[in-house]
Symmetry: C2
Subunit: 313 residues, 2 copies
């Protein structure tokens, strides 16, 4: 094998009631990483789509660190050179650093025919994510690798629970042109939360998991409530309440920040409702910040990071 | 109808990772309430099994208040007299006040042929529970009325989620002869919790709900971890760590306080494992406090509060 290219999708983490433990994968957009063998070490040959903002130093690049973690785990003495194509906007709250790390480990794993388990891939990609996010949470990494709706019961060692996705469940994501540093968004949360808010959060998360199992869209909608992160981060996204209200009026089940924002997601019970929800959210973003957001509509994608091309000669 | 007797089962609330929102019903023990019509008002004729400790004043008795709440809700001008037979030890952490309130509303509802919904019965019984517990949480009331494993997504109006119970799941409950006031146990918790502990709690609750849906007993076991209440209440039950360890060594999936204690529950994947787990826990209680506890073994009971006899003449 002389080159393997893998794609890893954008992910929505937190999902209103699952701060730091829940996420789901979109079909697209996503990042691509091409891995080629080197005699030793990890090198980054090129990064496209980042406007020169991401570090080329592999020890400071999320994909580079993830690739090195996997090589170490495999006991592999050979190295890799990586080419990264960012399909995801930086600092958008759509799991960009996770997608690069996920694509890197999947590409490197395939390059060496290692067939590592999802747990191993998640653990190694997490090493890269730790760089990007300042702390490591697998709620973007795990869905980007596994696809679907994923609950991270435990971080390390990973205890990853793949939740079912009811037929029809469709995501809308809007990305307003604001940038939020994950570390700053995290600092807004503080180290403790009112017990009452926490109780409400776990009641909602339990109900959401039940709703996904039973296809009870009304319950899913009621459970998509964030008592922890969103209220404390609301100031980061101008017009947040109006954007949420627009999504709900247009027929969404729920709407909240994607990760630490600035992107917002909504979930819809049917694909045909999603475009209207996306338009309503985009219009509300335009009114709030005077600029059109990117809008993505996608099913909750069953497939996570995967090889898109291999070149043997 | 001149008399209706209803039985309502003991319940285990919190269930390790579901503080204030999760509970399940046992088959037995439980409380019985007999309701007879009166021209008006609520009266308590007799209470058996409480050693004279519960108030006979219906406005200060959990069953009396619950009965009155239902009469009011039904617009019923007639009244009831109640006889209460406590099958549950007082202040045991097994939902005793909830069982009396649940049996009372089910008996009164049947006496007047009202056929109220579970939501109405829960809401009215909760009025009674508020007296006993100092604050009202439906995590004992809802499973005592509905049976099975119940998640209370929202308190009022009630949003009650009935979870599936995997075949074989069996509960062991031991009741050491200690008394813990719910209000005191609650005060130990404080008003806020570390975000990190809260995150771990909702990850576990989500995983437990998934485990109940999929019958994944290993996951259920991993999820039966309490990062919120048990660590802060451990001092209330001498030997708590040893009792838990005994349960796990004997084959339990998990073990924690039932409600605010002093009772402890364990869950087992198969009925035949339960007696051994019960004996191990009882022996550990004996070593810790020098006295034998009551031991109850029961499936997670699909049936909640129900009429056991009606007398028409």
């Amino acid at each position: 094998m002389i080159a393997v290219t893998a794609f890893a999708p954008a992910t929505v983490s937190n999902v209103a009631c699952g701060f730091d433990v829940l996420g789901f994968a979109l079909e697209s957009p996503g990042d691509e990483v091409t891995a080629r063998p080197l005699p030793a070490g990890v090198r980054i040959d090129a990064i496209e789509g980042d406007a020169g903002r991401l570090p080329r130093d592999p020890t400071r690049n999320t994909a580079g660190v993830a690739a090195q973690a996997l090589l170490t785990r495999l006991g592999e003495t050979r190295g890799v050179s990586l080419t990264i194509r960012k399909g995801l906007p930086l600092s958008s709250g759509l799991g960009g650093s996770a997608a690069s790390a996920a694509a890197a480990v999947v590409a490197v794993d395939a390059l060496f025919g290692a067939q590592s388990s999802a747990d191993v891939l998640v653990a190694c990609a997490l090493e890269g994510e730790r760089l990007g996010a300042g702390s490591s949470h697998a709620d973007n990494i795990a869905p980007s690798i596994c696809g679907g709706f994923v609950l991270v019961r435990h971080q390390m060692p990973p205890d990853i629970v793949r939740l079912p996705v009811p037929e029809g469940l469709t995501a809308v994501v809007v990305h307003p042109h604001l940038e939020i540093e994950t570390a700053r968004a995290r600092a807004l949360l503080g180290a403790s939360v009112p017990l009452e808010d926490a109780v409400r959060q776990w009641a909602n998360l339990g109900a959401l998991v039940h709703g996904l199992h039973t296809g009870d869209f009304a319950l899913i909608g009621r459970a998509l409530e964030d008592t922890i992160a969103e209220p404390r981060r609301a100031s980061l996204v101008p017009g947040l309440a109006a954007i949420k209200a627009a999504a709900m009026t247009a027929g969404a089940l729920g709407c909240s920040l994607s990760g630490s924002g600035p992107s917002l997601f909504a979930l819809c019970a049917r694909p045909d409702l999603a475009p209207r929800v996306g338009e309503a959210m985009a219009a509300a973003v335009r009114r709030a910040i005077g600029e059109d957001p990117e809008v993505y509509v996608s099913p909750v994608a069953p497939r996570g990071a995967h090889v898109v091309s291999s070149c043997v000669s």
